[in-house]
Symmetry: C2
Amino acid sequence: MATIGDIVVAAALNIITALIFLIAFAILRLQPVNDRVYFPKWYILGLRTTASSEGSRQQFLNLDFRSYLKFLNWVPHALTMPQSQLIHHAGLDSAVYLRIYLLGLKIFLPIFLFTWTILIPVNWTNNTLEISQETYSQIDKLSISNIPHASPRFWAHVAMAYVVMIWTCYMLKIEYETVANMRFSFLQSEKHRPDQFTVLVKNVPPVDQESVSETVENFFLVNHHDNYLTHQVVCNANKLAKLVKMKRKKQNWLDYYQIKYSKNPSKRPMMKTGFLGLWGSKVDAIEYHETVIEKLSNQIAEERKNVTNNPKSIMPVAFVSFKTRWGAAVCAQTQQARNPTLWLTEWAPEPRDVYWKNLAIPHVSLTIRKVVMGVAFFFLTFFYMIPIAFVQSLANIEGIEKVAPFLKPVINIKLIKSFIQGFLPGIVLKIFLMLLPKILMMMSKFEGFLSISRLERRCASRYYLFKFVNVFLGSVIAGAAFEQLSAFLHQPASRIPEIIGIAIPMKATFFITYIMVDGWSGTAGEILRLKPLVIYHLKNIFIVKTERDRERAMHPGSIGFNTGEPQIQFYFLIGLVYALVTPLLLPFILIFFGLAFVIYRHQVINVYNPKYESRAAFWPDVHGRVISALIISQVLLMGLLSTKHAAASTPVLLALPVLTMGFHIYCKGRFEPAFIRYPIQEAMNKDTLEQVREPMNLKRYLENAYVHPVFKDHEASDEDHYEDHDGSVIVPTKRHSHHPQAS
Amino acid sequence: MATIGDIVVAAALNIITALIFLIAFAILRLQPVNDRVYFPKWYILGLRTTASSEGSRQQFLNLDFRSYLKFLNWVPHALTMPQSQLIHHAGLDSAVYLRIYLLGLKIFLPIFLFTWTILIPVNWTNNTLEISQETYSQIDKLSISNIPHASPRFWAHVAMAYVVMIWTCYMLKIEYETVANMRFSFLQSEKHRPDQFTVLVKNVPPVDQESVSETVENFFLVNHHDNYLTHQVVCNANKLAKLVKMKRKKQNWLDYYQIKYSKNPSKRPMMKTGFLGLWGSKVDAIEYHETVIEKLSNQIAEERKNVTNNPKSIMPVAFVSFKTRWGAAVCAQTQQARNPTLWLTEWAPEPRDVYWKNLAIPHVSLTIRKVVMGVAFFFLTFFYMIPIAFVQSLANIEGIEKVAPFLKPVINIKLIKSFIQGFLPGIVLKIFLMLLPKILMMMSKFEGFLSISRLERRCASRYYLFKFVNVFLGSVIAGAAFEQLSAFLHQPASRIPEIIGIAIPMKATFFITYIMVDGWSGTAGEILRLKPLVIYHLKNIFIVKTERDRERAMHPGSIGFNTGEPQIQFYFLIGLVYALVTPLLLPFILIFFGLAFVIYRHQVINVYNPKYESRAAFWPDVHGRVISALIISQVLLMGLLSTKHAAASTPVLLALPVLTMGFHIYCKGRFEPAFIRYPIQEAMNKDTLEQVREPMNLKRYLENAYVHPVFKDHEASDEDHYEDHDGSVIVPTKRHSHHPQAS
């Protein structure tokens, strides 16, 4: 078991690592040559075009040493931007995302003060551990383990459990209310946005002798005759999009070879046509690419004609726009036809949030896809260790020798041998865990969600579940998840929290170290942006010709809700579970929340470029996961105390999860609709105001709002075409559809 | 254990009882004097005014002996009425209710044929029981008990479980579809009904300096300006209704005494003023009642003034009517305000279905009421035996002697003593079980449901749960429910179905007897209507003066969904559980369903007078309970087989409840909305048709549709005022608000 000394050493190590990252960042960000890596958001907004604000144009390094003295001055910069400006600058999603960190501070700071003043003395002034003569550390002396069985002191923990619950719920309620109000005022302050007037209609039934477009028009002219304005049908342009993407890729290569040739005109660049350019016949690279691109262009033209003319490529899906927000709100919230699985309506996502590929999935297959993915996720969570172990068993010396005997002499070199034996199995697992978010995203895409925001939300909840089972439970109870699963199925339900509960206090030091490595150093590493920095400079050297190329080379990324949010939630879980068991852990959590808040606020302001604006639609998920963490902590405390022979406290503790659940149901009823529906009163209000202030030609505005990007994009450029027609968008971000995150 | 001989004797006894009831009914119904007891529906519809269709007016007994020969001719009469006429005659609710019995026949007849041809031979051709040398009966030889452990023959049962599931689900789906379509065509064929145009708005927020009526009008004029027509606010007239009811009661007594006096003018009727007329000063009954009624009349006038003028008596609830069904459908299905707990809208129940008393319950208390009643129901279900046992312990000889020593000589008479000892404890339980539906109804009323139909539906589901726990589980595993509860909490989850599963085959004879007593004799007794018969004749002798009095004296009752439906569901449960375990039970179930179908069809046509028309809104509940019975049967089979060492079958069986659940989710999505929402297309369709065919002045029609009955009822008569204004109701039934069921 770790002693306080061990913790201090680990803390020192991690603090030093974090400081190194921060100092490196402070130095690198001052170099004008890195300006587009560390401040891309300002370039995207068009507020900065060169890094020349202080230095000269051609300057690559900042030689003004005075500026290095203020190496931490990004912190006040990051913190001073007021919230309204932040929303305007980075969008509501980002502003609300930052509030999650703030929520962590708000919840855990008072809990920290409370538990340290009350529980730590209560725990410390016992001598159970000394009497038991087992090995123990000073950390355990501060934890609940130091209290003797059936001691009345447990009532302090029970009372504190109530304090934690009440405080957490109170904070959650205030936050839910604030976010809901922020969402409404954002909706009210937004100017025209096509999604306010538009409803996504799915599963349009086929009618004989009528095109989908005619069916949709007839239906809405009849059933919403006062409100219907126009509609756009959706084509299955997946093949076309694929061709366009391929052409774009080839074009990039062509550019690369052309630059290469222009730099060294004496030698025509050559390439091999086979896989990854490794084998195959050698050809002139520029000529080869030109012919390929021409062929693709012809294919694209043909496919484009095919998609637009072939009625079979029209999907039974349409974006229907209404004259008023009221009309759209009514249509989105009502059941249209007798058969509730036809003419399904929902509030349309904003155009850049639409995940076009999935609009072509037939509606009947969605349920099957959902079930298949549910089962797949279950097996992924509980049995992922089986294939990993299999690969690990292959990735040993004998396995490699068998598969590739020609490598034998290399492998038998001692250094390489020990490397393979020592690191390879670990690396296999590491690679899997790195790929996990991508696997989860693929699973969500397969499930058929229609907007990127919903894809990310689904990924986030699955990622959290995976972390809960495999990192939290897996660390607390050693053993693979599927072994636990079978053990739990054969235990009475009341035994499960006991088993986990007993193990909880013993794992405190493990989680403290986890917080420092993942939470402190990891977060500090985030600000350094090492990978984008390297990629940017590589691209800058090899590809960039024009300013536009340079713009494309900078890679702002987005906040990554699908991986970032589960990480924060994991700290909420650890914090709530250990708040009463080992309060010593709380300051580590607090430092994480504080550090992450500052760093991510800086990143949101200067770096990230959101792919979409869902108007904080993720908040119900955030709220629900904190609630679930609270309930888990309560159940585990109950299990722990019941093994401590504090049976009298069980009924009192039993009320905790019930009350929390009740609170959750209340919040769900009170606040969740704000994130799903557009209330009639709000819509009418906004309609009326707008009619008075700035009437406009909506039909022209909405006619082409929801056109598949490949049709907007006639030149097959990857320039952004998603801006609003009148340019009145609040968050004038651009979408780079070739981002790895978007693929 | 019962032998086949025992079963035959019990069957003979019950068949004879049922036959006696049926013959008694056949004779009694032919007497003209009983005509209003056995055919009240025709009087209510106005299709019959006297029983003189064949005999003479004054004839009390039917002396035409030829008619007795055809004593079973009510059966073809009951069966020949076609469904469309039945809906017109008795309403959609009744017609659909009868389909539940039909569904029973449709599900169990093929299952019966299958299991008898396959499972009975499979079970019979073993000799496990003979070898085991335990006592067993021939019935057990036919059941699954006769198959040796780990026999491959169990695969026959597993396969049959799939057949049962597929067949039951298929029938359920067809039925759900049929009922949904029946509901829609009923909606389309109905003429004007106020509820088609009306939305019930709850939780209207208070606005300063504005009455509720003004607030409602402003809100809907702004937010639904094209559709809003008119509204009616709801007053808290509960006190007024109470006074009116009391006055009516006194009036009845006055009538009674006046008749008594008129029959015997020599003696003024006297009465005592105390409790139940048992003590107090003796006064002239007519004079006394006249003064009391006058006093009440004054109070009523005052309270009426108070209710109409006092703004505090106006509840924040309103019935808002729209110009079109489309407008109402839109308003009912959308969220009105930013705060989703304000301006709650739902499709209004029809006027006679409104449970006015609960409209005065403040909305905030509803959740608390729901929780309180949930907890109360839990304790009622699991711990009701405790107070019963307490009362039983009091209701013994010593207890009575202690409380009432003056009864000592009476009690000590041997006959009375043995009666008290033998019957009293049983009677206490019996009384409780008889009161149970009333207790459940009171609980539902306390919960604050706003329509009688929903009250009955909630009662039905609770009554079914109670029966499941206490009759089904209670019979299968001996012991009080709360003992089982604690045993189950300390068992692993997988053990519970095993414990119940083992006990199932042993209880087959018990349930066969139960079906015969409750299902055969009980149902046959229903048609005799002994209680209404006696009451009618008593009233006829003592009270009836005019034709109108006679009409009031006949007591048609209604189908009693809250007790009747759980009874049917209980047979579905037993049938599905035993279909695979002891197929011998199935014919008994089939006879029940057949007999009950004929008898209830007769009653629906000739007797019952529905209190409301919910347009088969109860079907999702019916469907859900059959599904739950199916899942229970599957889980129990799994438990049973796992104790039979047929472990290989477990994974195959595990798929059964999962598939059934999937089917349920599918049905919920596909059909349930038809019972909750009015699809926009249907509403628009009906609106358009009506505008072309028969435009009418809706405002006048709707203005007073939802007025509290006491305001319609100015003369405080108990005549019916719920008819539609234009008399165009499809089911022109009348409501007698003094029915015991309605109180």
